[in-house]
């Protein structure tokens, strides 16, 4: 349903930040991407949504109508059609703070309404009720009318998930969804993502192998723009050293 093939991206100075990233996603998977900061985890997710242009490689996304969109090369309406079906869960900090919680959730379906309507009156009452339904799934329905800026970090992250749920995508991408959260909030977020993955695959980037071991069905390790591990979330000590580039210390 998603094929990522040989992504390459070079930045100024000639360094390859993506150097042949390749993997496929099947239904029912909850994939955790591990890797050091700057290894290329977030960039891979941005390439999948076409927010970052790549030098070469291919992203094939199979839409609801079984048509295949080559996201990395798509533009305009075709790219927006693919984006509508990919629910990106950004870090909660990237919500629009000056809008209400409900408006932030409704942004998830912005791709389905006409630009003129979004300037005239925005969303209909029926859409607003559906958005409250998405907030119920993350147990924040009572927050609908609050100004987003007044929420805590954990609450914002839940709103970001509600936005993606409301979008009714065919694939979820979560960019460090638990990065700035305490362990209890982080666990709450993963318990929300895990059941979503049963129907719609989830790809998330993480820094905590303990959490990916407990919740993910598969782990992809990225180091210096390359996939160095792809398999079971039960990583060995050796696998972790490989992903994070730590030289193994020989103990006597």
């Amino acid at each position: 349903m998603l094929d990522v093939h040989a992504l390459v991206k070079t930045v100024a100075g000639g360094r390859r930040v993506l150097d042949g990233v390749t993997f496929s996603v099947k239904p029912g998977e909850f994939i955790g991407i591990l890797g050091s900061s700057g290894a290329g985890k977030s960039l891979t997710l941005r390439a999948i949504t076409g927010l970052t242009e790549i030098d070469s490689g291919e992203v094939r996304f199979t839409g609801a109508d079984q048509s295949i969109c080559r996201v990395a090369h798509a533009k305009g309406a075709e790219l927006r059609a693919a984006r509508r079906q990919i629910g990106v869960i950004f870090q909660g900090l990237h919500l629009v703070k000056r809008l209400s919680v409900l408006e932030n959730v409704m942004i998830g379906r912005l791709g389905y309404i006409s630009p003129l309507r979004s300037w005239l009156y925005g969303f209909t009452d029926a859409e607003a009720r559906a958005a409250v339904g998405a907030l119920e799934q993350v147990e924040l329905a009572s927050f609908a009318d609050r100004l987003t800026a007044t929420l805590s970090g954990g609450e914002m992250q839940r709103v970001a998930i509600a936005r993606a749920i409301f979008q009714q995508p065919r694939l979820y991408l979560a960019d460090e969804p638990i990065a700035s959260l305490d362990p209890r909030n982080a666990e709450g977020i993963l318990k929300l993502l895990q059941p979503l993955a049963k129907d719609t695959p989830v790809i998330g980037t993480f820094h905590q192998p303990d959490f990916t071991r407990r919740f993910c069905t598969r782990v992809i390790g990225i180091r210096a723009g390359r996939v160095v591990y792809d398999g079971s979330p039960q990583l060995s000590h050796h696998d972790l050293n490989e992903i994070y580039g730590i030289r193994e210390v020989q103990t006597a």
Binding site: T49, L51, R80, A81, A82, R83, R84, I86, G87, V88, F90, Q91, L93, H94, L95, V96, K97, R98, L99, E103, I107, G108, R109, L110, G111, Y112, I113, P115, S118, W119, A160, R163, Q167
Partner: protein
């Protein structure tokens, strides 16, 4: 040995002082400023000031319409300027507009700000004739020069990740502007617009005196007709308008910025 030297600083300040005094004297000589002119002027001063009193209170009723014209002039100029400066601001923001559009727009805004509204009025009077309409266009154009630049700057400072998160949902360009960018610049937009309203009220009095109508025209007219007691009432009317505008816009702005914290 350090560069910090008391004698050197003293010398430098004395040199700067000498240059300033020389420039002042040169300018005064060039403009034919002579002490006896001051002496004559000051002698007539008390008489001149006295001729403004007592104010012609009976003329107060005649000032109501000009005061309203001035307020309407400043308000419509601010609103027109605001609507036009939003797209101009977009075109001036580096994270929205491509360089081939942004750079000429920024240059034009700079040129526009360099031209005083009084000069703009001369052009618009030729086009629309004397009266408030020419004033509205002059002040609106002046507002675009300032608001367009400040809005462009505010747009450049928005959080790009927030904008990306809206784009990632499949939003079009204008939807991204509406939901990702506009909410982030709204406080700056409101504060700058209120400030500009305050400036426009003052300027509309000045422009009134040179042909845009309103209370400024009453001041100029009364002075021209040597009806100084009537001019006093007109000046009081303009002070009332300017003070009220400043108080209202200042209060709203503080409330807006207070909500930020």
């Amino acid at each position: 040995m350090t560069a910090y030297s008391a004698s050197r600083r003293l010398l430098r300040r004395a040199a700067i002082g000498a240059i300033v005094v020389t420039l002042f004297l040169a300018a005064a000589l060039r403009c034919d400023v002579r002490p006896e002119i001051f002496r004559q002027g000051l002698g007539q001063g008390p008489n001149f000031i006295a001729s403004f009193f007592p104010p012609l209170w009976s003329a107060a009723g005649e000032m109501v319409t000009p005061v309203l014209i001035t307020i309407v002039l400043a308000t419509s100029a601010t609103l027109l300027g605001l609507f036009l400066s939003f797209p101009v601001g977009l075109a001036a923001a580096s994270n929205v507009a491509p360089a081939w559009l942004r750079q000429p727009v920024r240059v034009l805004l700079g040129v526009e700000r360099a031209v005083p509204e009084t000069i703009l009025l001369l052009f618009f009077v030729v086009a629309f004739g004397l009266g408030p309409l020419a004033g509205v266009f002059s002040l609106a154009l002046g507002s675009i020069g300032m608001l367009g630049k400040l809005l462009g700057d505010a747009m450049e400072e928005v959080d790009p990740a927030v904008v990306d998160s809206v784009r990632a949902a499949g939003a079009t360009f204008w939807q991204t502007i509406r939901y990702g960018l506009l909410p982030q610049v709204l406080p700056a937009l409101a504060a700058h617009t209120l400030f500009r309203f305050d400036v426009n009220v003052r300027n509309s009095v000045v422009l009134g005196a040179i042909g845009a109508g309103g209370i400024g025209e009453e001041i100029a007219h009364s002075m021209g007709m040597i009806q100084y007691e009537r001019a006093t009432i007109a000046v009081l009317g303009s002070l009332l308008v300017i003070y009220t505008a400043e108080a209202v816009s200042g209060r709203l702005r503080r409330r807006l910025l207070g909500a930020e914290a």
